[in-house]
């Protein structure tokens, strides 16, 4: 059952992104910035947490989910460490993802070459 919910929520968030890209002059890069920022804000307000509870990976895998992780991380660290947590919490919570991106990016660059589009 959770698979169906993940499919639906994930698909819906991507659909919203597609509509933004197709009906406005927003480039994909700007849409992603909007998504991640929205995820941070909705996460902080407790709204995104409810979407995660319902949709699981359907909410955490899309980019607003990354924003949500940043928000949750920051709030957690501020609770534990005070104001300094505002600067450490976000990156701490998303360290795994960011590091993986850097490392795998480098690895794939070593192994593979770009090919012409057909």
């Amino acid at each position: 059952m959770e698979y169906l919910r993940a499919f639906f929520i994930g698909g819906l968030i991507c659909l919203i992104g597609q509509i933004l890209m197709d009906t406005t002059k927003l480039t994909p890069a700007r849409v992603l910035v909007i998504f991640v920022t929205t995820g941070v804000i909705l996460g902080a307000l407790g709204i995104y947490g409810k979407i995660v509870a319902f949709g699981g990976a359907g909410a955490t895998i899309p980019l607003p989910g990354f924003g949500y992780s940043l928000a949750m991380g920051v709030i957690e660290e501020v609770k534990n460490k005070g104001l300094i947590g505002a600067f450490t919490g976000g990156v701490k919570a998303t360290a795994g993802g960011i590091t993986a991106a850097v490392v795998f990016g480098y690895l794939m660059a070593i192994i593979f070459n770009p090919k012409t589009k057909k």
Partner: protein
């Protein structure tokens, strides 16, 4: 002389009117289905690790890493851009798209060397996501410290 024949704003109106619009239905379906599938794959890993006893947060982190690897690998194979053609936002918005946006410039600019090419250009597309995401989270943290606790 072209400006004597047609005024600037008149021309811009004409362009806007005649510009072909993308096929919203086809693109929407593509985005929904592929986005949904990628998230379902993510759910598979998330459920698996939570069943193994991991907390939601840790399971989520490992799932992200796996999905980032998958996005990176498909980019390396040269397959991710073919998916993206049809999927649009369905392959851009999930974290696999984040991965693709880092791996593709890393691969592309290898020719300019591992320091200035791969190293420097890796975040040329994904950079803004990190800058705006992290900055917003800092603001959230500060606001939470003063007003939220």
């Amino acid at each position: 002389m072209a400006k004597d024949v047609i005024k600037e704003h008149e021309y811009q109106e004409l362009v806007k009117k005649t510009e072909p619009k993308p096929n919203l239905i086809k693109n929407g379906i593509g985005a929904f289905v592929v986005g949904g599938i990628i998230c379902t794959i993510g759910q598979f890993f998330l459920s698996y690790f939570m069943q193994k006893g991991l907390k939601m947060q840790d399971a989520s982190t490992i799932t992200s890493i796996i999905m980032i690897f998958l996005g990176a690998f498909l980019t390396g194979l040269g397959v991710y851009d073919d998916i993206g053609k049809r999927a649009g936002a369905g392959s851009i918005v999930p974290i696999t798209g984040f991965s693709n946006s880092i791996v593709s410039p890393a691969m592309e600019f290898k020719r300019e060397g591992y320091v200035f090419g791969v190293g420097a250009k890796m975040f040329v597309i994904a950079g803004p996501v990190l800058v705006y995401g992290i900055t917003t989270s800092v603001i959230v943290g500060i606001l939470y410290y003063f007003f939220g606790r």
